[in-house]
C-alpha cells in the first residue's frame, strides 16, 4: 500500500504508523460518563471506506487524514490533519 504524503509523495506504508480510525464523537465531556466512554472506546470500523489517521513517522512526521477502503486498501484522499501546524 502506498500512502501519498503531501510533502514526501507516495511512500510505502511501513514508513507510516497508524494513528486510529475516526470516530463520530470528538467532544470530550468529562462529567458525562457515557460521552467519555464513547470518546475513549468507540471508533468507526466499517467494512468499506473509512476515514483514519496516519503519521509519517519514518519520513516527515506529518499527521495525515486518510480515506481508505478497508477491504481493498485503496486510498482516495490524503491530506494534512486540520490541526497540522
Amino acid at each position: 500500500m502506498l500512502i501519498n504524503c503531501p510533502f514526501c509523495g507516495p511512500r510505502a506504508e511501513n514508513e507510516f504508523v497508524f494513528g486510529g480510525s475516526s470516530a463520530d464523537n470528538c467532544e470530550v465531556a468529562t462529567e458525562n460518563t457515557t460521552a467519555l466512554t464513547d470518546y475513549l472506546y468507540f471508533r468507526n470500523n466499517p467494512k468499506g471506506w473509512n476515514i483514519e489517521y496516519w503519521v509519517h513517522r519514518h519520513g516527515c512526521q506529518s499527521w495525515l487524514e486518510v480515506e481508505r477502503h478497508t477491504v481493498t486498501h485503496e486510498i482516495r484522499r490524503t491530506q494534512l490533519t486540520k490541526d497540522h501546524p
Binding site: 504508523v17 497508524f18 480510525s21 472506546y41 470500523n45 473509512n50 483514519e52 496516519w54
Partner: protein, 419 residues
C-alpha cells in the same frame, strides 16, 4: 446412526475400500424456526452449538455459516493452545479452555491432534525476563503451570536455536508452559460439527445473515440469503465481522477489525518440537507433523477486512525467525494468508449479552480466539441457556467499558493496533 471412529472401524473400512464412511455431518436445509440460532460456523459457533445440545439439552439449534464451516479465522490461525495469560479473568478462562482441550479428542470422538509440546517465551533482556517471571508467578499462584528457564535449559529444549551471546539481541532466559502446544485447527471445526450434528443441530452452510429481526427490544429471528428464520435467541460468533452483525441490531462495539498474517514453509525434517515465541523479534513458530514451519508475528496494524497482508510484515516476521534459527534462511515459504481479527479496545474478549433481549455476542477475541474455542463455546452455551453469563465469561461483558472494569492484558490502552 452416527458411526463411531475407532481403530476397528478404520480396519473394517480399509478392507472395504473406504466406500462406506458416513458423512461427518448432514447438509441440513434451514427450517422456519429454531430455539437458538448461532451466526457463524467457526470453531466458536460450532462449539457453542455442541455444548448447548450436550450439556443443556437444547438441540433445536441452527448454525448459520455464510461460506464453509471453519473457513474464517478457525482455518487461518497458527494452531496454538496455551493459558499463560496474566490478568485473572483471562488466566482462569484460558486455563479452563486448556483443560477442555486436554479431553477434547475423547469427548468428540475426533482426533483433534492436541500436541502439548510446550510453549516457550524467549527473553532478550533482564527487564523482559522479569516481566515474564511476574506473569508466570501470577499463573502459578492460580494453579496454572509455568517455569522460568535458563539459557542452558532453553538450548536443551531447542537445540537448533541461536543462543550465542554475540548476536544483536541475545537470549538471556525464558519461560515455558509445558501444557501448552498446538492442535489441528480444521479438526476442531469438523469435530464439533460432527458431534453437534449427531445431537440434532442443523449446520447450514452458504447461508449469510443479512439482517436481524427485532421487535420491542427483543430478537425474533434473522434474515438470510436463504430466507427468514425465526428464533427467540440468537448468538453472534463471527470474529472480525462482529461490528457489522451488531450494527444490524443497532449495537456499537468497541472493536477494530485488523488483519493478522501467518505463513507456512516447505516441509523439512523435524528439528523443532516446541512452540517458540520471541516478543522482541515479533515472531513465533512451530513445526507441524508434516515438517512445515508455521510462522506468525504481529498484526499489520490498521483496520482491514482483506484477509491478506502486506509483504513488509512477512519480511519483518521472517527476519525475526532467521535471527532465532539462522539455518532456516534458505527455506522456501509456501503460503501466506491472513485472518480478520476483532481487536477490542482493551485487548480482551467480549462474551455475553447484548442490549437486545435474546441477543448474545461471542467476539472481541483479538488474536486469542483459537485457543479459546472450547471455553468460548462452553460459556456462550451457558449464557444462552441461562440468559446469564457463566462465572468464567462474566467479566468479559460489553458493559465493562462503561463501568471502567477494562481488562488491559497488554497495558496498551485504547489503541487496538498496539495490543
Amino acid at each position: 446412526m452416527k458411526q463411531r471412529y475407532s481403530f476397528p472401524a478404520l480396519v473394517w473400512n480399509a478392507l472395504r475400500g473406504h466406500r462406506d464412511w458416513a458423512p461427518a455431518w448432514r447438509k441440513a436445509q434451514p427450517r422456519k424456526n429454531y430455539d437458538v440460532i448461532i451466526i457463524g460456523g467457526g470453531g466458536h459457533g460450532l462449539a457453542t452449538a455442541y455444548y448447548l445440545a450436550k450439556i443443556h439439552g437444547i438441540t433445536n439449534v441452527a448454525v448459520l455459516e455464510r461460506a464453509w464451516i471453519g473457513g474464517g479465522n478457525t482455518g487461518r490461525n497458527t494452531t496454538i493452545v496455551r493459558s499463560n495469560y496474566f490478568l485473572q479473568p483471562n488466566s482462569d478462562f484460558y486455563d479452563f479452555s486448556l483443560r477442555l482441550w486436554e479431553g477434547l479428542t475423547s469427548e468428540l470422538n475426533f482426533n483433534i491432534m492436541l500436541s502439548q509440546r510446550g510453549v516457550i517465551n524467549l527473553c532478550h533482556s533482564q527487564a523482559e525476563l522479569e516481566t515474564f517471571a511476574r506473569r508466570y508467578n501470577s499463573n502459578r499462584q492460580r494453579g496454572v503451570d509455568g517455569e522460568i528457564l535458563s539459557v542452558a535449559e532453553i538450548k536443551k529444549l531447542i537445540p537448533h536455536l541461536d543462543t550465542s551471546p554475540d548476536v544483536r539481541l541475545p537470549i538471556v532466559g525464558g519461560a515455558i508452559q509445558r501444557r501448552g502446544g498446538t492442535a489441528r485447527h480444521d479438526a476442531v471445526a469438523w469435530g464439533y460439527a460432527r458431534a453437534a450434528d449427531a445431537l440434532g443441530v442443523d449446520i447450514i452452510e452458504n447461508c449469510e445473515v443479512t439482517g436481524l429481526h427485532i421487535d420491542h427490544g427483543a430478537i425474533t429471528g434473522v434474515e438470510t440469503t436463504l430466507g427468514t428464520i425465526k428464533a427467540p435467541k440468537v448468538a453472534i460468533a463471527v470474529a472480525g465481522h462482529s461490528t457489522q452483525l451488531a450494527e444490524m441490531a443497532g449495537v456499537r462495539l468497541p472493536i477494530e477489525t485488523h488483519l493478522l498474517q501467518a505463513m507456512v514453509s516447505e516441509p523439512v525434517k523435524p528439528f523443532l518440537d516446541t512452540m517458540v515465541s520471541s516478543a522482541t523479534h515479533h515472531v513465533y513458530l512451530s513445526q507441524t507433523d508434516k515438517g512445515e514451519l508455521v510462522v506468525g508475528g504481529q498484526i499489520d496494524g490498521y483496520n482491514s477486512f482483506s484477509q491478506r497482508g502486506a509483504f513488509y510484515r512477512i519480511e519483518d516476521i521472517t527476519s525475526g525467525a532467521i535471527a532465532l534459527f539462522p539455518q532456516i534462511a534458505s527455506l522456501r515459504m509456501l503460503r501466506k494468508w491472513a485472518g480478520a481479527v476483532d481487536m477490542t479496545m482493551d485487548g480482551s474478549p467480549i462474551s455475553g449479552k447484548l442490549p437486545v433481549h435474546g441477543l448474545y455476542l461471542d467476539g472481541g477475541w483479538c488474536y486469542g480466539g483459537f485457543k479459546a474455542t472450547p471455553a468460548a463455546g462452553w460459556c456462550m452455551a451457558h449464557t444462552i441457556a441461562h440468559d446469564e453469563p457463566h462465572d468464567l465469561n462474566r467479566q468479559f461483558s460489553l458493559d465493562r467499558f462503561r463501568s471502567g472494569r477494562v481488562i488491559d492484558e497488554r497495558g496498551a490502552g485504547n489503541s487496538p493496533w498496539l495490543h
